[in-house]
């Protein structure tokens, strides 16, 4: 009975972080709310028995990417944004668009509910029959079936690093 409870706790944390990111006026506050969402999603991965992905989520997202964001925000020395109160056609349009996207996604989930695998209420989605994913299993899949994709991702990361250094250099743009 513990797992549904944990799911709702972490889901509330993730949603609170996301809404806080959306409405806070200072970009630093937005980034810190986002860190909360990342950590809550990492805990959700743990409840899903995907422990390695959860740890990687904390290391890469909450660690590396969010620190990069915070560094850039501190570098730029920004002023506070105006608050989101008041009516404008852009905001009304954004609200309508958000409702449309949400209803589309939830309709898809509800429509596919019959096709999803059977799960029990007390175990995870694995139903207790599948063991938690091991690092070994992931590593074997990554380095055998997906080895070529891994090489491409390595080249992409190298290109991104060089491109970021070039773009951030003075007198480039």
């Amino acid at each position: 009975m513990l797992e549904p409870f944990l799911f709702f706790v972490f889901a509330v944390f993730a949603l609170a972080g996301a809404v806080g990111m959306l409405v806070s006026r200072s970009p630093v506050a937005s980034a810190l709310w986002m860190v909360q969402t990342m950590l809550a999603i990492a805990c959700l991965y743990l409840t899903l028995n995907a422990s390695f992905i959860g740890v990687v989520q904390i290391l890469v997202y909450a660690g590396a990417i969010m620190v990069l964001f915070l560094f850039v925000i501190m570098l730029l020395n920004l002023e506070e944004a105006p608050s989101l109160k008041g009516f404008s056609f852009l905001r009304a349009g954004a609200f309508v668009g958000g409702v449309a996207v949400l209803s589309l996604l939830l309709t898809a989930v509800a429509g596919a509910a019959d096709l999803l695998p059977e799960t029990s209420d007390t175990m995870g989605p694995t139903g207790g029959t599948l063991p938690p994913t091991s690092v070994e299993e992931l590593g074997v899949a990554l380095l055998t079936r997906h080895a070529f994709t891994l090489e491409i991702v390595g080249a992409l990361l190298l290109a991104a690093t060089i491109g970021a250094v070039l773009l951030a250099k003075k007198r480039f743009v």
Partner: protein, 99 residues
């Protein structure tokens, strides 16, 4: 815990990300919203991967994370270069192609 709960949470998080891109004018917050959308998709992938007992979904999450890291690095470098020239991070004031 039913798989549909994870999928619904992911849908709500994705929608908040979409709203962030549409509502906020600060380009850094727009970036954060894009990261939130990528995270929501990752949650869907991991939930499906565990439900079907197929490890390939988690491999895809690795690649999504790598692409997100590369995108954040290049995107933030572009933000720094733009801020140096225009002294703004407001997306409404960045109109390089509109004259």
């Amino acid at each position: 815990m039913d798989l549909t709960w994870y999928l619904s949470l992911s849908a709500v998080l994705f929608t908040i990300g979409v709203l962030g891109v549409l509502l906020r004018r600060n380009v850094i917050v727009v970036f954060l919203s894009i990261e939130l959308m990528l995270n929501a998709v990752n949650l869907t992938l991991v939930a499906f991967s565990q439900a079907f007992g197929d490890v390939d979904g988690q491999i895809l999450v690795f690649f999504v994370m790598s692409v997100a890291a590369a995108e954040a690095a290049v995107g933030l470098a572009i933000v720094i270069a733009l801020f140096r020239n225009k002294l703004t991070v407001n997306v409404d004031e960045m109109r390089l192609f509109r004259g």
